[in-house]
Structure formats: structure tokens, C-alpha cells
């Protein structure tokens, strides 16, 4: 056999092995532990959640980000390992009798890959912007839309503790009213892929967060698929015993 072919065969064998997945998971755990230790002590992480991950990665010093680059590298290998193992499993075992038992781990793997895709999409395309607004303030959103903060309402307890808050926002395009929405705690307003959130409130004024999170639908789909596959596999294993 030619040396090149044997090297390729070796790589394929490694990618087909569950043992490879174990070692990759171990190394990934190591990188994440390093990240969890570094995160509270290095000031660079103060801005990590303020922009898309890849933008932050490009700007932050390598002494703060080395573990994340390592983790991304391992995730790429884990993705290849998952894809190759899943394809091999589906090609080898097609008998109908144990179909659900064979397919359920692949559903879990598909969910995992969708979750990674979600993070990739968000890491590249997420955007965040803070806006301080008073009642009547007007802002230009992407797509020629204008948002107006019509009113801000804060309910405060007798001890001065904010109990609830609301801001009414309205969207306009070319002078035409599109819709009116109420933003509150756990209640954002969504318009054309942009979420409007309240970050802080004062009487008559509000600090808004405009957020675009393009990976969110993929993350939800991946998480649901992952969990359904897990529950299915668990139920099948319990029933089989």
C-alpha cells in the first residue's frame, strides 16, 4: 500500500473511533476548565459578551484567548468525528428491527451539530448595541425602520426596589406605522430579526439593548433534537432491559 493511502486510512480509522471522541472530549474539558479559571481574572473578558464572538476573538490578546482557539480546534475535530461515526453507523446497520435504537444516537449527534452550527452563526453574525432613550426618543433600525420609545413606566416598591417596568415602542417605515409593542422583563420586542430588550430603567428613561442573534433558531432546533434523541435512546434502553 502507498504511504499516503495508509496515512489517510489511519486518519479515517481514528475519526471512526469512539476512543477518539473520548480523548477529544477530555482535551475539550481541559480547555474549558482553563477558560473558566482565566475568565474571572483577565480584564479582556469584560467585553466578551458585548459583540460577536469572532469579532472579540480578533481583538482580544492571545494570552486570554488561547484556550478558546484550542476549544474551537477540538470542536472541529469532534464535528468530523461525529459526522464520520454517524454516517458509518447508518451505513452499516440498516436492519429494520432495531431501527430506533440505531437512529436515536444519530438524532442526538444531529442535535449536537446543529448546536455547534448555531454558535458558529452567532459567533460570526451576532450584533448588540445599547441605546439610552427618553420618552419620545426616535432611533433608526436596519432596513429603513424607525423605532420610537413612546412611554416608560416603572413600578417601585415602598423601599425603592423596582418591581416591574414597561416601555411602549412603535415601529415606522417611510412615515407609515408598522406596529406597536410593549417591552418588559423577559418580554422583548422583535422586529425583522432585531430584538429590543430593556437593560435598565429610570423614571422617564430606559437603557435599551438592540440584539441580533442569528443562531437562536438553530440552537433551539438543535437542543430540541438533542433532547428528543436522548429521551428516545433512554426509553429504548430501559425497555430493552
Amino acid at each position: 500500500m502507498k504511504p499516503g493511502v495508509s496515512v489517510l486510512g489511519g486518519i479515517l480509522d481514528a475519526l471512526l473511533s469512539t476512543r477518539t471522541a473520548l480523548w477529544l472530549l477530555l482535551v475539550e474539558i481541559g480547555f474549558f476548565v482553563a477558560g473558566a479559571v482565566l475568565m474571572p481574572v483577565l480584564p479582556s473578558y469584560g467585553t466578551m459578551n458585548a459583540s460577536a464572538l469572532f469579532y472579540w476573538l480578533g481583538a482580544a490578546p492571545l494570552r486570554a484567548t488561547w484556550w478558546l482557539w484550542g476549544a474551537i480546534g477540538v470542536l472541529i475535530l469532534l464535528t468530523l468525528n461525529t459526522l464520520v461515526c454517524s454516517l458509518d453507523s447508518l451505513m452499516r446497520k440498516r436492519e429494520g428491527r432495531r431501527f430506533l435504537l440505531i437512529i436515536s444516537p444519530q438524532i442526538i449527534h444531529a442535535g449536537f451539530l446543529l448546536l455547534l452550527l448555531a454558535h458558529l452563526v452567532s459567533a460570526a453574525g451576532a450584533a448588540k448595541q445599547n441605546v439610552l432613550a427618553r420618552e419620545g426618543s426616535r432611533f433608526r433600525l436596519p432596513g429603513e425602520t424607525t423605532m420610537v420609545v413612546k412611554d416608560v413606566d416603572v413600578a417601585v416598591s415602598s423601599e425603592g426596589f423596582p418591581l416591574d417596568w414597561r416601555a411602549t415602542v412603535a415601529y415606522y417605515k417611510a412615515g407609515r406605522a408598522l406596529k406597536e409593542d410593549v417591552v418588559g422583563p423577559n418580554r422583548p420586542s422583535f422586529h425583522e430579526g432585531i430584538g429590543v430588550y430593556i437593560q435598565d430603567v429610570r423614571p422617564g428613561a430606559v437603557l435599551l439593548l438592540l440584539s441580533r442573534e442569528p443562531g437562536a433558531p438553530w440552537a433551539l432546533a438543535g437542543a430540541v433534537l438533542f433532547t428528543l434523541g436522548t429521551l428516545l435512546l433512554l426509553a429504548l434502553k430501559i425497555l430493552r432491559e
Binding site: 472530549l25 418591581l163 430588550y197 437562536a216 433551539l220 437542543a223
Partner: protein, 236 residues
């Protein structure tokens, strides 16, 4: 605080006498229901309430496993001891009584936290089964540890979905880069490692049982260590 102290005493006696474990579980569950009625929501904010919730969940799952699958006295004794430990730790902190921050006033939060603690409790039960297996290896303990940890993993995954949905509605992102989130992913990666390890020669048996047992230390550090020591959206 008095019912929690009484539950601690019951779990302590439960180490040697089984009915006291059930009594401790019922008393602690009643205490949590009372706390819930008092504050008008599930009591899941602060160390006192969450430790009591974890203790009751652990005792409840242990009793269920004991009754349906594994009627071994030493198993229930070990779980009762663990429940007693978490309950006595809860007495070191007063219950949270102030108004709830509006961002926590949502069912997504309650589902996220309740399911997280159910999964932590299941990982705790799995750790006890792992210790029993390591002390005297038997197929039954190893299989049961796997099933309980797998159930914990599934529940944990669902709790992460709810947490992601909640974070997206509250903060505009389903994922925040904080130490707590990283440790949460570590739990997920760690138990993924454990579940896969059982399938591979050389990792199956004792090594995977050790992984499944040590995983509970990662869980407890993520819950108490990170929650108390590091600043994040999950700080107590």
C-alpha cells in the same frame, strides 16, 4: 428554618433506619411547599432554598430507586447521609424573603432551575451507586448508575433548553460567556464523556464508574463553588 433542621435530624437517623428517610423527605417537601405558598412561587432563589430543594430531590429519587430497583440498605443510607449534609448546609444561610427581581419572575426560570436540581440529584444518586460498584463490583450497580446518570443527563439537557430560551428572552442571547455557563457546559461534556466511555474497551467498567462518580464533584462545584465564588448571571 426549624422544619429544615428537623429534616436534617430525620435524614441523620435515616442512615440507620429507613422510615426516617421517608419522613425526612415528606417533611422537607412540606417545608418547600410552605415556602412556595409564602413567597408565591417555587422556592428556588438563594442557597437555603436551593439546597433544601436539592436535598428533597435527592431523597425522593433515592427512595424511588430503592423501592423499584435496588432495595439495598447501604444505598439508601448513603443517600440519606448526603441529603443530611445538604440540608445542614442550607441552615447556614437564611431563606430569601425579599421581592423577586422581575427578570426571575418567569416560568422559564422556574423550569430551568427546578430541572437543573432534579438532574443534580440524579447525578448524586448515580455517584452513590458508582461508589457501591467500586467497593464491590456488580453488574447491577454499574447498569443502574448508567441509567440514573443517563436520566440525569436528559433532564439536564431539558433544563439547558429552558435556560437558553429564558436567557434569549431576558438578555437577548441564549448563551452568555461567563464562568458559570462554562462550568455548565463542562457538566454536559463530562457526562457525555462518561456515557461514551461505557462503550469503549479499556474505559468500560471501573474507569467509567469512577467518571460517573467523580462527575458529582463537578456538579457540586458548578452549583456551590462557582455560584458563590464567581460573578455571573447565576450568582446567589
Amino acid at each position: 428554618m426549624i422544619p429544615a433542621a428537623a429534616a436534617f435530624a430525620l435524614y441523620l437517623v435515616g442512615i440507620v433506619s429507613r422510615p426516617f428517610v421517608y419522613a425526612g423527605f415528606l417533611l422537607q417537601s412540606g417545608y418547600l411547599l410552605y415556602r412556595g405558598a409564602l413567597i408565591g412561587r417555587l422556592p428556588l432563589v438563594g442557597v437555603h432554598d436551593t439546597l433544601n430543594f436539592l436535598s428533597a430531590s435527592l431523597a425522593g429519587f433515592a427512595a424511588a430507586v430503592y423501592i423499584t430497583e435496588y432495595p439495598e440498605r447501604k444505598f439508601l443510607s448513603a443517600c440519606s447521609g448526603m441529603a443530611a449534609l445538604f440540608t445542614v448546609l442550607s441552615l447556614l444561610r437564611p431563606p430569601h424573603m425579599g421581592p423577586l427581581p422581575p427578570v426571575l419572575d418567569t416560568h422559564w426560570f422556574e423550569l430551568h432551575v427546578a430541572l437543573s436540581f432534579f438532574s443534580y440529584a440524579l447525578f448524586g444518586v448515580a455517584a452513590v451507586l458508582g461508589v457501591l460498584y467500586l467497593r464491590s463490583p456488580g453488574l447491577r450497580e454499574e447498569r443502574l448508575q448508567y441509567r440514573v446518570a443517563f436520566l440525569g443527563y436528559a433532564v439536564f439537557s431539558i433544563s439547558m433548553i429552558f435556560g437558553g430560551v429564558w436567557a434569549h428572552l431576558a438578555w437577548g442571547t441564549y448563551w452568555l460567556w461567563t464562568p458559570k455557563e462554562l462550568w455548565t457546559v463542562l457538566i454536559w461534556l463530562y457526562y457525555s464523556l462518561y456515557l461514551h466511555a461505557r462503550l469503549v474497551g479499556g474505559w468500560a467498567g471501573r474507569p467509567s464508574a469512577v467518571l460517573g462518580t467523580a462527575g458529582f464533584a463537578v456538579v457540586i462545584f458548578t452549583y456551590l463553588g462557582v455560584g458563590l465564588l464567581m460573578k455571573s448571571s447565576h450568582s446567589f
